[in-house]
């Protein structure tokens, strides 16, 4: 185990069985990028508890709450025991609210995802029940992971609402709503679902969107196949348990062979039982993959925001161009663009010079406003692209690091499983020898 004692390390990897030799090489993204927040504060999702209460429609419901613990970092080093942490309880829906707030407020950031609401990619042993203790435990780890991801993000970690989420149990909900993010949330939803054609998208974002879609597809498939492989492997191991039973029965009718058979049977039982822990560990690997599966949604969301801004820019620019065109026609008297006014003037006679003047002035005004709007939009677009691309680069590096570590920890799990297998069959072999 890494000796820093930071729970952050454990949360990212999700596998607490790594020997220290291996964990030295596993450099945690978040330990490397210490934000101001993490320099001051330790964050932990320590426990989960079931609660029952009346919901909004006055019906009894059971839900789970999670205990968020925070502790000042310096306090740990003062002689003796560290002081008790501050803590508060939050339920999953509050995490969701926090995340929606972050998505709306920082549309140029790839916002870390929450662990899944319902268990998906289940293989037969795991229950899909949200109240199942294994599921709750894995969700606890996932929520802690989410908080640490946000807390280690260069931009998100300084958000006040996030800070209050960690520290203020009662008033937090009001404070979030006060930010007025709900209005933006509605328009964001609209923009995400709308279809519009962007004429000059930034090529990097187009490529990014495509990559994000590919990643989503391939990780989904990987999770599905992995679940099936796990299911089959479970079957293989469990059937060996039958050897245990039969050998035991058989040993009862044999004399010299009896002892060897009986003890071999015990080892077969051990073998059959070992698969439960092995597959439970593998769930952590699946969770790491799932995190990045959900990340692809966040990436796609940034791309769509870029599309929207780019589209708005193009619209504003197009509007400006058309007004300039109108002005030119009006001043030179040539009609290049069809306009109703132009037609009616033709039909009903030219307008008076005064009318023309006033129209020109109005157009001029409109054009100036339009130019300002375009300038704003261009600036907004450039700012967005710069900030977004920064975060995308950061995200890509994080992804490469984390997934590589996940693959390494998967390899370690496989080796551990093999070593257990060697042990069991070696023991069984000795017993067979005594038959």
């Amino acid at each position: 185990m890494a000796d820093s004692g930071c729970s952050e390390d454990v949360a990212v990897i999700g596998n607490t069985d790594i020997t220290s030799e291996e964990s030295d090489s596993i450099n945690n993204t978040m330990a490397e990028s210490q934000t101001d927040l993490l320099r001051k504060m330790e964050i932990n999702v320590a426990e989960a508890e079931k609660r029952t209460g009346k919901n909004t429609v006055n019906m009894q419901e059971t839900y789970t709450v999670y205990l968020i613990e925070t502790r000042a970092v310096e306090a740990v080093t003062e002689g003796g025991l560290p002081p008790a942490p501050d803590s508060l309880w939050r339920r999953y829906s509050e995490f969701e609210l926090l995340r929606t707030y972050l998505l709306v407020t920082y549309p140029y950031i790839v916002v870390p995802p929450l662990p899944e609401k319902r268990a998906e990619f289940v293989w037969h042993k795991l229950s899909a029940d949200n109240l199942d203790p294994d599921f709750v435990e894995r969700r606890r780890v996932g929520l802690e992971n989410f908080l640490l991801r946000v807390a280690s993000h260069p931009v998100l970690s300084s958000d006040k609402i996030f800070f209050f989420f960690l520290t203020e149990e009662k008033n937090w909900r009001e404070e979030v709503l006060e930010t007025g993010f709900q209005d933006k949330a509605d328009s964001r939803l609209k923009s995400l679902s709308a279809m519009y054609r962007v004429k000059n998208p930034d090529k990097r974002f187009t490529a990014l969107k495509q990559y994000s879609d590919e990643l989503n597809t391939v990780i989904s498939q990987l999770l599905r196949v992995r679940a099936r492989v796990a299911d089959r492997l479970y079957g293989v191991y469990k059937v060996h348990g039958n050897y245990g039973r039969v050998f035991s029965e058989w040993s009862a009718i044999e004399n010299e062979m009896g002892d060897g058979l009986q003890s071999a049977g015990h080892h077969m039982d051990t073998y059959a039982a070992s698969i439960d822990d092995i597959l439970e560990e593998e769930e952590h690997y699946a969770d790491q993959l799932k995190e990045y599966l959900f990340y692809t949604d966040a990436v796609r969301s940034v791309c769509r925001k870029h599309d929207l801004i780019q589209y708005e820019l193009e619209m504003v620019a197009q509007d400006l161009a058309s007004k300039k065109q109108q002005k030119e026609e009006l001043s030179t008297g040539t009609v290049r663009i069809f306009s109703l006014k132009g037609m009616t003037s033709k039909l009903f006679g030219q307008e008076s010079p005064e009318q023309k003047e006033s129209r020109l002035a109005a157009l001029e005004q409109s054009i100036q406003e339009g130019e300002a709007a375009v300038k704003d939009k261009v600036s907004e677009c450039q700012d967005f692209v710069r900030a977004a691309w920064d975060d995308v680069e950061r995200f890509k590096e994080q992804k490469d690091r984390d997934l590589r570590e996940a693959l390494i920890s998967y390899a370690i799990m496989q080796i551990s499983m093999c070593k257990k297998g060697i042990q069991v069959w070696s023991n069984a072999k000795e017993c067979f020898n005594k038959m």
Partner: protein, 420 residues
């Protein structure tokens, strides 16, 4: 153990008369080593029965004087039928064989003939089973390659078991089977065959009637045989199930690896690691395939043989009981003093001898058989355990070498980043 002793062949009383003279006679000692009579409780019976050193007597180090192989399955098509012949090659140092090497062509029917002849001549010896005529579940073609291969191996095991048997290996029928160019002239479809059939039917009827004084040791044996049969069937079933599950696992693995490869195509930095994992999964798949092969081709056939052996044992016990039943019937007739006393007395004496010989044969062969079973099954499970260990060792090595490549990359990265 070959050719020892020269007892009046007890088979003289059997139905077929052209049988060997120089048979090994097993211990005639029906009492225990210390001279006391047989104790009563089945439990202690088992212990007493098994206490004698199994190596004593029958399967002690004896030089192998037969080397037989069954190979080369060939298909033959005639107007009437299609069948497979196998090449049977024998190398022997037996003096009663004219040559030291023989090669003949035999079909499954011929093996059936041989075994039925051996059964007739030695009704209470435990003769290794032949592979089944048909496979019940799901086999469409009799001439499917893997079916033929499985059968060939089983025929090979059969001949080897027979040729190692202290009594059966001296059978004239075996000699004919191994050496005669054409087997047809030697085959008789006479009364022997038919009365064996009849014998089986009657013996079933007799065992239903129940024996008056079956010696306790055979009751114990019968119970053991029943239990052993059930256990073997179970172990066989479990093994088949394991093979099935392994095959399904392998199918999924074959899809698993390629998914990592597909992912690698969308990645830059991550591509190597992903391909590395794909490669590991691929290699482990191959190892899994080998493991399945071992189970199917080594463990399962051995277990299956012993499932069939259990059936043979049941038949042998029935025959033994039948002989005793015959004796009891005749004896009753004698005691009722109704018919010709002299003739009956002779018959009764003959039957009494017959029982004694049958019982002795069975007792002796029982030990040999049990010892052989123990050795065969131990060996089969041992090699399976070793195979499984190797499987895990190889898979572990595959993943470990992947880790090495990853660590090397990590170190390179670290050196690049901060020069430390």
């Amino acid at each position: 153990m070959s050719g020892q002793g020269d007892s009046a062949g007890f088979t003289g009383h059997m139905l077929d008369l052209d049988e060997d003279d120089d048979l090994e006679v097993f211990t005639k000692n029906t009492s225990l080593a210390d001279g006391s009579s047989l104790p009563n409780s089945p439990g202690s019976m088992v212990n007493q029965y098994r206490l004698e050193d199994e190596d004593e007597g029958l399967q002690a180090v004896h030089t192998k004087d037969f080397f037989i192989t069954v190979s080369n399955p060939e298909s033959h098509v005639t107007a009437v039928e299609t069948f497979i012949t196998y090449k049977v090659v024998t190398r022997t140092t037996r003096s009663d064989f004219d040559s030291s090497e023989y090669e003949v062509s035999r079909r499954y029917q011929d093996f059936l003939w041989l075994r039925s002849r051996l059964e007739e001549n030695h009704p209470t010896l435990i003769i290794h089973p032949l592979p089944e005529k048909f496979v019940m579940k799901g086999m469409v073609e009799r001439f499917n390659e893997s079916f033929i291969e499985t059968r060939r191996k089983a025929l090979h095991r059969f001949l080897n078991k027979i040729s190692e048997h202290p009594v059966l290996s001296h059978s004239e029928h075996l000699k004919v089977f191994l050496t005669a160019e054409e087997l047809a002239p030697h085959k008789k479809q006479g009364p022997g065959f038919l009365s064996r059939m009849g014998e089986t039917m009657r013996s079933v009827a007799n065992s239903v009637r129940g024996l008056k004084t079956r010696p306790g040791e055979f009751t114990v044996m019968q119970e053991y045989v029943e239990d052993f049969s059930n256990k073997m069937i179970s172990v066989d079933k479990v093994t088949q199930r394991i093979i099935k599950e392994q095959k399904e696992y392998l199918d999924e693995l074959k899809q698993y690896g390629p998914t990592y490869t597909q992912w690698a195509e969308s990645e830059d930095e991550l591509a190597d690691s992903l391909r590395g994992v794909a490669n590991c999964v691929e290699q482990c798949s191959q190892e899994t395939e080998e493991q399945i092969s071992h189970l199917s081709e080594v463990l399962l056939p051995t277990l299956h043989d012993y499932v069939l052996c259990a059936e043979t044992l049941k038949t042998v016990m029935r025959r033994r009981d039948k002989i005793q039943a015959d004796f009891e019937t005749k004896n009753e007739a004698l005691l009722s003093r109704k018919d010709d006393q002299e003739a009956l007395q002779e018959e009764v004496n003959a039957l009494a001898d017959r029982i004694e010989l049958a019982d002795n044969a069975l007792r002796g062969d029982w030990k040999r058989w049990h010892s052989g079973m123990r050795s065969d099954l131990r060996s089969a499970f041992l090699t399976t355990a070793e195979k499984n260990m190797k499987y895990y060792e190889k898979c572990s090595a595959v993943w470990e070498s992947f880790l090495l490549t990853q660590r090397a990359e990590t170190c390179q990265q670290k050196d690049g980043d901060d020069g430390s």
